[in-house]
Each structure stands twice: as structure tokens, then as C-alpha cells.
Symmetry: C2
Subunit: 190 residues, 2 copies
DNA sequence: ACCTGAACACCGTTCAAGT
DNA sequence: ACCTGAACACCGTTCAAGT
């Protein structure tokens, strides 16, 4: 565990905000703030240090490097995504809901898509969402491997819609087309 | 016109390659070489200058800035895309062929997707391809606005497939699903 | 018209040294 | 254990000055 520190906030009845020692969660939150406010170029180790009332070098004690920080920040955002309950809605509704929430997430955090790593593995936040969408596709009646393809198709379409900045109407119609297409594949099964 | 220069290659029977004066086409080609070889971080005005046997500052006479250079390089790649002939194949075949060529293009030039501008308008190379794909969708029997949506859906899916690095099989199945979905929309028309 | 050299205002990262 | 200061090796871009 890394959470405890020996000399906590001294006193407690102190005056101003009492800038606590750094911890990685705090760094990640500040990084996200910078990214949301100023885009991917707005995040700079130096500026981040300044924002946290320290030096850029101090950050390196808590985080390996900037790339790692981006990974952590991205995963923290993915963790925001709600997971629709399959007991309550059908697979198609659940899938489209997740897709639309993903789209909204990317809109809110425009730095997320460009930051998607091609090589490195995803973090736990994203992995959990991916797994949930896979479960939704499985519930649709796909074979295991087709469910995988279906999930990839849906995510690809949403991500691409963000990169290409399609209109909201195109998103909705596109999602319909994608799900119609997936459904005909299920229907074609023996 | 910017093409002519008063003092061309002197002589012609000279010894080594006779490093000609810079021109923007040459700069773009060199930039693409750097990008292909080393990714988006491999392109540096300084390295590019070195590669062209000049200084970084020299490039700024021919190109406004790095962003502009990226735009020009991207558009040059888009211009590579073949345009399927609608006289020879059906719309679905043509559309899928274009989509697959786009995908291959993005695979060959992995820096292309991250470089896609959200704000700035596309160059003529890309615009021409977009228009052709729109024509293909129109030939499918969509209304004008639905053809637009269809095109956006197809491009979004292909771009997203590259960002998320889906498997080739997922690409093929996804394209099928997308086109099936689009087709059911056409079929639902009065 | 076209290019060079040097400068400016930045970067990410490391590392000795401090507490 | 955690942070600071200073340094290193870079960036993109500008601009006087050269030819």
C-alpha cells in the first residue's frame, strides 16, 4: 500500500488549504483538468508541477513518465462509464446506450482518442467496460468469436465517429445501421 | 506558378546528385519518409532540414509551419487512394473496396489517423475521395442526406478500426455488418 | 528570392543534493 | 521517503543578416 503517510496534515485547524504532499491520484486529477481545459498540448510536466505547487521533477517520483501519466488519466476517464444492466434492457438497447455514453465521454474529453495507445495494454477501467460490452454482445446470441467481432465493430465505429467528428445524427443512424447489420448476422445463424 | 527557377541544375553532366534548391513537394516527400519510418515523433523540423541538407529555418520559407506540413503530407497520402469505377462494380462492392483500401492506407502510414485534424478543412486529395465515396452511396439509392450519413458511417468505422487496431477479420465482418445495416435502411424506404 | 546562424521560449527527463 | 535545482538534450518558430 502506498496510501498512508507518517506525518499527516499537521494540526488540522490550520489556515489555508495546507498543500498536502503529492500523491498519484491528485496528480492524475490535475492532469485531467489540464487536458480537459487545454487539450493534449496543455499537459506539460512543468505546468502540471506548477499547478500542484511543486516542480516538474517531483512528479517523477510518483509516476514513471508522461506516457504512463496519460495512460492513468485515460483509464480514470473510462472508469466513469456507466454499465447498463442487462436484466433491465435488451442487448441492443444496452449496447447502443453504452455506445452513446462512450461517444459523450470522448466529446467531453477530446484528448482521449488521440491518446489511445496502439501498443500498450489498456488499464483496468477500460478493460472492465470492454468486458461488459462483450457480455452484452454475448447475450445477443453471438458465438464467442462473433461477440468479440461485434464488440470491436461497435467500439471502432464510436471511436471513428469521434475522430472524424461526425454529426450527432450520423452517430445515431450509424449505430442503428451497425446494430441492424449485426442482427442480420445473428439471424443468419442455423 | 512556383515551379520554374532561373538557375536550374548547372551543366547537367555534373558529378554527385547536385542538391537542387528546395521546393515544397520535395519537403513533403521527405516528411512522409520520416513519418513512415519513425512515426509522428520522428518528424522534426530540424531533422527534416538535416535530411534535406539544409537548416530547419529554410523550410519555413516554403511551408507556413509544422501543422501545415502535416496537412500537406496527409493530403498527399489520401491522393494515393484508387477510385473504384461504378460502371464496373456495384455500389456495395465499390464501397467495401474503398473502405479496404483506406484501411490499408492507414496501416501503411500509421501517423495518418492521429494527424487527422478535427477543426481544419481537409485538403483536395481527401476531399476528392470523400466525394467519390459519397457518389457511391448515392448510387446505392439513398436520399442525399442519407448518402451523406452512410458515407460518414463507413469512414468512421474504418478510421475507428485503425485507431483501435482491430483484427483484419473484424474489419471484414464489421464492413459487412455496416453495409448490411445500410442496406436494410434502403430497403425500408417507400 | 531564398537561405543561414543565432536566438527565444519552451519541452521531457535525470540526478545529485537536500530534508 | 519525498522533494528541489540545475542540468542535458532536445523542440518549433522567428528574424536579422547574408547571397
Amino acid at each position: 500500500m502506498k496510501g498512508e503517510r507518517q506525518d499527516a496534515v499537521q494540526g488540522g485547524a490550520g489556515g489555508r488549504p495546507e498543500r498536502r504532499a503529492l500523491d498519484s491520484e491528485q496528480i492524475i486529477r490535475a492532469a485531467i483538468g489540464l487536458l480537459d481545459a487545454e487539450g493534449v498540448d496543455g499537459l506539460t510536466m512543468r505546468r502540471l508541477g506548477e499547478l500542484l505547487d511543486t516542480t516538474a521533477a517531483a512528479i517523477y517520483w510518483h509516476v514513471r513518465n508522461k506516457q504512463e501519466l496519460m495512460r492513468l488519466a485515460s483509464d480514470a476517464i473510462w472508469a466513469e462509464l456507466r454499465l447498463p444492466d442487462l436484466e433491465e434492457v435488451g442487448w441492443r438497447e444496452a449496447s447502443i446506450a453504452m455506445a452513446q455514453e462512450m461517444h459523450a465521454m470522448f466529446q467531453r474529453h477530446s484528448w482521449l482518442v488521440p491518446a489511445m495507445p496502439v501498443d500498450a495494454p489498456y488499464g483496468p477501467g477500460r478493460t472492465l467496460r470492454d468486458d461488459h460490452l462483450l457480455a452484452i454482445c454475448s447475450a445477443a446470441g453471438f458465438t464467442a468469436s462473433d461477440a468479440e467481432h461485434a464488440r470491436e465493430t461497435i467500439v471502432a465505429f464510436v471511436v471513428g465517429s469521434c475522430v472524424t467528428a461526425t454529426s450527432r445524427r450520423s452517430l445515431v443512424l450509424g449505430l442503428q445501421a451497425v446494430h441492424d447489420g449485426l442482427q442480420t448476422r445473428i439471424a443468419a445463424r442455423p
